[in-house]
Symmetry: C2
């Protein structure tokens, strides 16, 4: 079994994941969010697409058995295990601008967007290419009648996990989320393992 | 008053819209969808972002008073009038691949994606840069409990419209949607006017 890697609070990482390998994203302390991005490792212009994925899945609640699609309608990742069942695929990673918007009184932070941009830069991914992320453990209820959404604390408990299998060679971006609302104001690490 | 332009059924158009101008998108016969994209005319790497917009608006139901944001958190368009109040901002434009997925028995079509890619090519927009569109008049109810979504016929009637004001110089992509589910199986034109 491979080593478990920790992403420290309010930071991010990028790494390659080969076709057939699994990526386990773990919430080690509970109630923390991990923004996940995926790119075709051979051509980073092919990128995870919320719009394609939600269209094919016919639900905004993705869990075991669902696939995450690219902008070219290819499967990038399949969700093969999920101990939480509540994730978000509507919102873009928090950024300096979202901190100004939502937390004008808090110290500013480059957010998951800045962390992802820095981590993905060596792989040739430009900041403008960062789309809606698959936000593991992020709890964003939507009111079906009014359409209103809100960012609530995750329901994930310590040790909860979601497992993805790569359907092609990928570059992955992954964060331990930096936005207070996403994790109930308590910044914590995220762990991951590749098998 | 400027001329009203018709986009024939199952086709698309692209044009520039200057800061301060308004774009009126009209459903001339009722129950038809128009996928709308917007790019910064001076730098098409800045593009409409569903994830930023939904985050700032805190709702998936955008209407009069809401702004459509870019991937750089700038306002591209403001919705200043809306006679329908029911649009979609979750799904990517229908494409050849979505026709294969959803309508395997129908003649294939390049869809709104192909129409947008062709119309936007002269402006330097690559197909891989086409994100989730703001789908005018598209009716995609979401079940708040289960997360299930479905594509239902629009509630727009003949002559219904939505009016946007440009907050910067833009390149706009706009379609008369090609997917049977979006418009109740009846392909119709879309009209627009710039003032």
């Amino acid at each position: 079994m491979s080593e478990t890697v920790t992403i420290p609070e309010r930071s991010g990482a990028a790494f390659t994941l080969s076709s057939g390998q699994t990526l386990t994203v773990i919430d080690p302390k509970g109630m923390q969010v991990a923004d996940l991005l995926a790119f075709n490792a051979r051509d980073v212009d092919e990128v995870i697409s919320s719009g394609r994925t939600l269209d094919y899945a016919e639900t905004i609640r993705l869990t075991t058995g669902h696939s995450l699609y690219s902008n070219r309608s290819n499967i990038l990742l399949e969700i093969i295990e999920d101990s939480v069942g509540l994730h978000d695929f509507l919102l873009t990673p928090c950024s300096r601008e979202t901190f100004v918007h939502f937390y004008p009184d808090l110290p500013q932070h480059r957010g998951c967007f800045g962390n992802l941009a820095a981590a993905l830069e060596p792989y040739g991914v430009l900041p403008d290419r960062i789309p809606v992320a698959f936000n593991c453990f992020m709890n964003v209820p939507v009111d079906g009648e009014t359409g209103k959404l809100s960012v609530e604390p995750p329901v994930s408990k310590a040790g909860d996990r979601i497992v993805f299998r790569a359907a092609m060679d990928l570059v992955i971006g992954l964060t331990a989320c930096s936005a207070p609302a996403s994790n109930g104001g308590s910044f914590k690490p995220i762990a991951y393992r590749i098998d």
